[in-house]
């Protein structure tokens, strides 16, 4: 059984996909019901529950003819690494303003990276995506943050902020 802290974590993962509070709650409830119906209690863990939430979300989007996870259009940039988000600094208010720019894949990666501390390899394994694609996504997130941050003069690199 998941405790309240774990349920909150799963809810936030649902929220990272749905970006809507009520939908996130419904998604989590459906996932729990689905897991509980199964006869294998070894599947009743956080990782498996996140996978169930993700699959249910994809099913929901398919039924509503919505693309759940947006594909990448361009080639992977050559100079990226998984720590490229680590040196960014930002005001909370600015992040909230930027947040609508993030699509479902961005939000999922941000949750797995920031809330769970996953590496690019771990994110790739959990989302069944190539590591290079995850790195490319991280690069895009960084681009969005720095582009918007430069526009309002609030997001920058730590080193830049020291100068």
């Amino acid at each position: 059984m998941f405790n309240s802290k774990q349920l909150q974590q799963l809810y936030r993962y649902s929220f990272s996909l749905c970006a809507h509070k009520d939908d996130a709650y419904d998604l989590l409830q459906s996932a729990l019901e689905k897991l509980l119906k199964r006869s294998n209690d070894s599947e009743y863990n956080l990782s498996y529950c996140r996978t169930t939430i993700r699959n249910l979300y994809i099913d929901q989007c398919r039924r509503r003819s919505i693309l759940a996870f947006q594909p990448l259009e361009d080639e992977l940039p050559a100079d990226i690494n998984e720590h490229s988000l680590e040196d960014l600094v930002i005001q909370q208010k600015t992040l909230e303003e930027i947040w609508p720019l993030f699509d479902t894949t961005d939000r999922e990666i941000l949750f797995l990276w920031a809330a769970l501390g996953h590496t690019a390899q771990e994110i790739a394994e959990e989302t069944e995506t190539a590591r290079g694609t995850v790195l490319s996504r991280i690069h895009r997130i960084r681009q969005k943050v720095t582009k918007y941050g430069q526009a309002v003069g609030l997001a920058e690199h730590k080193e830049g902020s020291k100068s």
Binding site: M1, F2, S4, L7, Q8, Y11, R12, F15, S16, K21, D22, A24, Y25, D26, L28, Q29, S30, L32, E33, L35, L36, K37, R38, S39, N40, D41, Y44, D59, Q60, R63, R64, L85, E86, L88, V89, I90, Q91, Q92, K93, L95, E96, W99, L110, F111, W113, A114, A115, V145, Q150, G153, L154, A155, E156, K158, G160, S161, K162
Partner: protein, 208 residues
């Protein structure tokens, strides 16, 4: 670029964003109750010597779930509109059915976790819809049966059935007392609410 004292590491700001979005107490309690009262592997048969005990524990647990649902929903405003919003949202999602059958007896028999028997509503079946199947759902936190039909025009309709309690669902039209069903509109769908044989019945369908 100017340095701002309000700036923080990006990771910290992202974590703060997610931490701002949490389950409220009633949602948390509902989810905990679902876990507590739905044993993993309910599809497995219990050992014969324990079966009666298991059913007894299960019945008590289900009662607790319903009681918690009722407790959490007492006095929560304009109930028919809340019911309409909830069922329309479920209708639009069109989650997969747990059981596919056009036989109401077979569908009713599937709902072993309910403490009531889903009925063939006389009010609803005057329209002669085709039953497609059913799934579990909830209305205002109370576990309900969701039956999906195709009407004579080919549109999908949903009929929800749940034990009627005035404390939870407020005073609603009772068919047995010859009160006409309540009709509301939500997100472009027609929602009809009535009480029949002790069950709250709610349908959602595209308007004519």
């Amino acid at each position: 670029m100017k340095n701002s004292p309000d700036q923080k590491p990006f990771k910290q700001a992202v974590n703060h964003h997610f931490a701002e979005n949490s389950l409220d107490n009633s949602q948390l309690k509902n989810l905990e109750a679902i876990q507590e009262n739905t044993a993993i592997g309910t599809t497995k048969k219990a050992a014969p010597t324990w079966s009666k005990i298991s059913y007894g524990i299960y019945a008590i647990a289900l009662s607790i779930v319903i009681a918690v649902g009722i407790f959490l929903n007492i006095g929560t405003g304009n109930t028919p509109e809340q019911i309409a919003r909830e069922v329309v949202k479920n209708h639009l999602y069109m989650k997969p059915l747990d059981i596919n059958s056009s036989d109401i007896k077979e569908v009713s028999a599937y709902f072993t976790m309910l403490d009531f028997l889903p009925l063939k509503s006389s009010e609803y079946h005057r329209r002669n819809p085709l039953l497609l199947g059913g799934r579990y759902c909830s209305i205002k936190g109370v576990t309900a049966a969701q039956l999906r039909y195709k009407n004579t025009e080919g549109s999908l309709e949903t009929l929800y059935q749940v034990p009627y309690d005035t404390d939870v669902f407020s005073d609603l039209p009772k068919l047995d007392e010859e009160e006409p069903p309540l009709v509301l509109y939500e997100r472009g769908l027609e929602v009809t609410i009535w009480v029949e044989k002790g069950l709250l019945m709610v349908t959602s369908r595209p308007p004519k």
